[in-house]
């Protein structure tokens, strides 16, 4: 899974549609510093923290269940999933975590794909008759190469590279031939990083933790919040009680954090 194929597809598309390939300080910052994100209910995040690591579904679930999961067919059942983006899908009462890109050097076994693999053939399709695993393998790159691909992707595919951070649809034809299905969303154009097996929660790699104030009401979540505050990485927010609004608040909070991080890096 070299990065050359994806970069060549981007170059082809840029030439065909006369897209700019001029890299800016902003896209450089994004390539190097955009964190990996994971959204989950606060209670789940606290339990993950208490255990010290994220664990793949395969290691958590009963073997008899495996074949029924969408990850089974994609051979990603033993992976831990993050987005290389602001928090995008915080299912449940929203909480989230950002991991620093320094983890890429430590976890060279991880890989990144320019789409959400779980959404492939659920929300969008790719050309060809190969298996799902072949299609995924065609486009995934080692995580340490992800920055280079993201740099060109955000430059070529968007009129304004910041649109990637907003989760907007790309402004050109898909370089990899994505066709959207009914109900598709940013999963078709958001980078996904998969860490095999487990992800140790080494405090050195934690960029930020986001929790709703309404959920800092159990011992475990309170322990997590207290620890994160001491590390100066806690970002809490008030929930409105409207779950749509609260998801938006969390996403905006993580986006604001990332904007500041990238501005600092680009300066």
């Amino acid at each position: 899974m070299p990065d050359g194929y994806l970069l060549s597809k981007l170059a082809e598309m840029a030439a065909a549609e006369n897209r700019s390939t001029a890299v800016t300080a902003e896209t450089e910052a994004m390539a190097s510093f955009l964190p990996h994100s994971h959204g989950t209910p606060a209670g789940t995040l606290a339990k993950i923290f208490a255990s010290g690591k994220f664990i793949s579904k395969q290691r958590l679930e009963d073997r008899t269940e495996w074949e029924q999961y969408i990850e089974f067919e994609r051979e990603t059942l033993d992976d831990v999933f993050f987005y290389l983006a602001p928090i995008r899908f915080p299912t449940g009462a929203p909480a989230g975590i950002l991991l620093k890109r320094e983890i890429d050097a430590e976890r060279t076994d991880a890989c990144t794909c320019p789409f959400d693999t779980g959404a492939l053939e659920q929300y969008f399709t790719l050309p060809g008759t190969e298996s799902l695993t072949s299609k995924i393998a065609t486009y995934e790159v080692p995580v340490e190469k992800a920055g280079g691909v993201l740099r060109m992707w955000s430059t070529v595919c968007y009129d304004d590279a910041r649109s990637y951070l907003d989760g907007k649809e790309i402004d050109c034809s898909s370089p990899i031939g994505v066709t959207l299905m009914d109900g598709c969303d940013c999963r078709a154009w958001t980078f996904e990083t998969r860490f095999p097996g487990e992800v140790d929660l080494n405090p050195a790699f934690i960029e930020a933790i986001f929790l709703g104030k309404r959920r800092i009401t159990s011992d475990e979540i309170s322990d997590l919040a207290s620890w994160a505050r001491e590390q100066n990485i806690l970002y809490s927010y008030r929930a409105t009680g409207n779950d749509e609004q609260d998801f938006k608040t969390l996403k905006l909070l993580s986006r604001d954090y990332i904007d500041r991080l990238l501005e600092k890096a680009a300066a």
Partner: protein
């Protein structure tokens, strides 16, 4: 943009795992979707609930839904509920019973419950030797409404008495949009009986709408029709 009609959706649970100290509170609903392509489950985040139905959401197969339930990410109601409605809010009461009512009314009811809980928490705190009970009441109040400064004060007081200074600081931070650090600490000391003798009760910095609890029997009845009826 696809709109999934409400009539194809049924409320089956919520996307969270709550402990006793985390109710009453608002929860994000999970829907079963009886589509023409089979049965799926829709979890948040939804883009919107509009008049015609739901936009967005994360579609799960039955196996993935069951896995999420097993992991504790999703809590399923013992009995299947009714169809969702635009502008309605799902919340879980102190007995872990689902309530489904117009959003503004849910907020009002939760605020009133929070006020009552924090009042109880202060009484228990002052009684002494029942700090765990007071902490649980204050946490329940915070779960119901995260804009009641007294809930943070009671929790901070209990942590201070236990020597948990990091958690006192956490509460101070969480309440910082309502009360500055010094008056917050003074109010905590006052709750513990070690503050200034003539301390005035803290005034919340924000003007918050203080609305009376309005009868919502019609909505509770509605939910019992919608949510408790078994399929």
């Amino acid at each position: 943009m696809t709109i999934i009609p409400y009539k194809e959706l049924t409320i089956v649970g919520y996307n969270d795992l709550l402990e006793e100290t985390m109710v009453p509170t608002v929860v994000p609903p999970v829907y079963r979707w009886d589509s023409d392509k089979g049965i799926f489950f829709l979890t948040p985040p939804f883009d919107a609930h509009v008049e015609a139905g739901v936009i967005g959401g994360n579609r799960l197969t039955e196996a993935d839904f069951n896995a999420a339930v097993q992991r504790g990410d999703i809590t399923v109601f013992p009995e299947t509920g009714g169809h969702p409605r635009e502008g309605y809010t799902l919340w879980i009461d102190q007995d872990f019973q689902p309530q489904y009512e117009v959003g503004t009314r849910a907020t009002e009811n939760l605020k009133e419950l929070a006020k009552d809980l924090v009042k109880q928490a202060k009484e228990v705190l002052r009684a002494g030797n029942r700090d765990r009970e007071a902490l649980e009441l204050a946490r329940r109040a915070q779960s119901a409404a995260d804009d009641l400064v007294d809930a943070y004060l009671v929790t901070a007081a209990i942590h201070k008495r236990a020597g948990e200074n990091a958690k006192v600081g956490l509460m101070q931070d969480l309440a910082s949009e309502f009360l500055d650090k010094e008056p917050f600490n003074n109010a905590v000391d006052e709750l513990l009986g070690i503050g200034p003798a003539c301390f005035d009760a803290p005034v919340e910095k924000r003007t918050m709408k203080d609305v009376a609890l309005k009868p919502s029997l019609d909505f509770f009845q509605l939910f019992s029709t919608l949510a408790i009826a078994s399929k």
